[in-house]
């Protein structure tokens, strides 16, 4: 896990925006082999979208060949409702950039058959070749998408009832009228997120510091669904200073005192991560993905056996990554039989025997 700590939310957002742009450019997406981006809604990502829009308007990035999948959407409010996630995405991102509407996927909370909608959504992700980078945020209770505390870590896209706390929290967007707040939502599952080749999470603000602690310092736990990220091969969490407030003190070499938290004399763990980042970047080493995932499709011609009688096969084929869509450990734990990874042999059954039996007879 990479934990990137920046001084304030703006710097954290700008780090992620730059990271996404670098990723898309390195991938060099084409019409046939688009970059597949998973996107969140919420207050934390707004800053990221703002910077992405700026960079687009400055001509530094094009979303021409980017396919997007959003995390979630309310059930039962019109698509044009000011609080719908369609509206959020349109307002903050899609209306300002050149993502083609046919490349956009947002769950339809008004679908006649919601179950079918969820199944189709998973199928669409697969058809697009899987998500290359899933951007996310979390709630103060550590939830990712609408996978609130207690959601199965093996969950997939599905209908979800919202927790009462969430309904109350959301009521401020619906005239403070609980009756108007949607009670259900469609959301991708934890497993859906974990299957992305890369997951990048933004966490900012003191009110999310406990969630950050629970998700990275404690064990994997369905009460803090983001903690499942510990099982992902390529996760990254980008936070601001405030979000690190609850991180534990640890005996790590001091790099520099943190200017605006002088009242804490000890060292905090974020300095541990900071020191890692400092060392890594001094060595020109960043989080390395398998090179083929990093660079997108191979563009060499594969149809060497081309014959005029056969229709030509496409010249470019989306390569299977060297790690077949990185398998989070949950899939091997939960989806037996695991075939992608060698399964470690079980601890042998205890067979009580006499000590004497092990002594070779004279």
């Amino acid at each position: 896990m990479r934990l990137i700590i920046r001084d304030d939310p703006t710097q954290a957002s700008s780090y992620i925006a730059k990271y996404i742009i670098d990723r898309i450019q390195a991938f060099n997406p084409t019409k046939e082999h688009p970059f597949v981006l998973g996107l969140p809604t919420g207050s934390s990502p707004v800053g990221i979208y703002k910077i992405l829009v700026q960079k687009f308007k400055a001509g530094e990035i094009s979303f021409e060949n980017v396919v997007t999948f959003n995390m979630d959407e309310y059930i039962g409010i019109p698509r044009e409702h000011p609080e719908s996630y369609h509206t959020f995405m349109y307002k903050h991102f899609f209306s300002h950039v050149n993502v083609h509407p046919s490349n956009i996927h947002i769950l339809n909370g008004n679908a006649p058959d919601l179950e079918a909608e969820c199944v189709q959504y998973e199928a669409a992700i697969k058809a697009a070749g899987g998500i290359d980078l899933f951007l996310g945020g979390i709630g103060p209770d550590g939830h990712i998408a609408f996978n609130e505390p207690g959601s199965s870590l093996a969950s997939r896209t599905r209908v979800k009832t919202l927790a009462y706390d969430t309904i109350i929290a959301n009521s401020r967007f619906f005239d403070n009228d609980l009756e108007k707040v949607p009670k259900m939502a469609l959301t991708v599952g934890v497993q859906t997120v974990l299957e992305a080749r890369e997951v990048v999470i933004i966490i900012t603000g003191a009110h999310k510091s406990l969630a950050l602690k629970k998700c990275i310092e404690d064990g994997v736990n369905h009460m803090w669904t983001l903690s499942s990220l510990q099982l992902h091969p390529h996760p990254m969490i980008v936070v601001d200073e405030d979000a690190t407030l609850e991180l534990q003190v640890k005996t790590v070499k001091v790099i520099a005192p943190i200017p605006h938290i002088k009242i804490i004399p000890e060292l905090t763990r974020n300095q541990y991560f900071k020191s890692i980042e400092a060392v890594a970047s001094s060595q020109g080493f960043e989080q390395i993905l398998p090179s083929k995932i990093r660079t997108g499709p191979r563009t060499t011609a594969l149809n060497s056996t081309y014959s005029p009688s056969k229709p030509p096969t496409p010249a470019t084929v989306k390569d299977e990554p060297s790690i077949l869509s990185p398998q989070p450990v949950t899939s091997t734990l939960l989806a037996a039989p695991a075939t992608e990874y060698p399964v470690r042999s079980h601890t042998p059954e205890l067979v009580p025997d006499r000590m004497g039996s092990r002594i070779a007879a004279f």
Binding site: R79, E80, H86, Y90, S95, P101
Partner: protein, 436 residues
Amino acid sequence: MPSAVPTNNNEIITKFTNCRLVKGDELVEQDLWVSSATGKIVKSQEAFYGAHATPDVTVNLGGRIISPGLIDVQLNGAFGFNFSSIPEEPSSYGKTLRQVNKSIIQTGVTSYLPTLTTQPQEVYHNALPYLGPSGGLRIASDGAESLGAHCEGPFLSPTKNGIHPVECITPALNGFSDLEAMYGATNINPTLDPLSGTLQAPKIKKITAAPEIGAMMRTIPDITARGIVYSIGHTEASYEEASLAVASGATMITHLFNAMRPLHHRNPGVFGVLGIAESLPRPYFGIIADGIHLHPTSIKIAFNAHPEGFVLVTDAMHLVGLPDGVYEWNNGERILKRGSQLLLEGTEKIAGSSITLIECVSNFLNFSGATVPQALKAVTATPAAMLGLSGVKGSLESDADADLVVLEEQVDAMGKRSLKVDQVWKFGSKVFDRSQ
């Protein structure tokens, strides 16, 4: 093999970006999509997700202001053409009008009420058939659109005639039948369209009359029942009479302060109905902000009395745009044009104005210190509401008609603010660009 031709293959969706939209009393930084096919403002989010529509053209306005197209509810003529005239060749009226409409729109006025002053009966009968609502076909190149005629007279108070010829002023003693006789029954009543068989709105959209003269007071409901706005003006009405007119259905006051009794502390006159003591709905009111008709402070007081009813009008004569000099007027009288001032020759009587509507807006900005959206509201959303066209004209909300002006805000060395019309769009197509 013939195939169905898609109906929208000529549709051009234009997206304005990097612009500030006049919405209510605020300038909102937001993109705006318009369609040349429907002539309307596009529900962009719905079109984007639903029809996977993307703009064909993106216009970067560099932070300039988009206002709904301006609406002038009192325009007597322009570019040398007086609406209240019968040309020597009567059939040329329509042709000249079409030319003038193409000129008017370049001033930022995308729709207006062509206004007829007090005239002999035959002028109404000749002119009104040409002056009815003209936007039915939604053709951008037609220029400024008439929303219906405004008849200012002849049922006025002879003592508050302004420059209207007294000999033509007449009371409507018999009520509505006198109006029908004066204006022509086919002009003041809805007519059946012979082609579609549907009822069409009357040619007349607004009548200015003195409520205390003849049987006008009891005729007001007959007027408003036909969808025509009754406006109090050129009147000796007391506060009580003005209140009764409002109670009878008057929703507008024509050029407040001018050609009516002044505000007196013991009888506040027509101005008094802007008070809220009587629990009557407060009418809209027109204000001529040319700096000549009214003192700037009077304008400010009127605005503050009822900002939601404040409508800026030009009351411009056909001389607007022509050089200074002496021009022929009714019945041998002549008008002296000196700059933006028009006087009846040999008198000190103001003979209308020769100012453009956007100049009125700039004046109002400087007189009152109002914000740009507040000032523009007085020539867009408020007159549209007065005419019952909220959400159709004078609005940048989805599904409103895509009549737009692109404005540049300028401040000179003296700190004087002004708005310049850079572009004009009608029904989703550009019809004027200052830089071209």
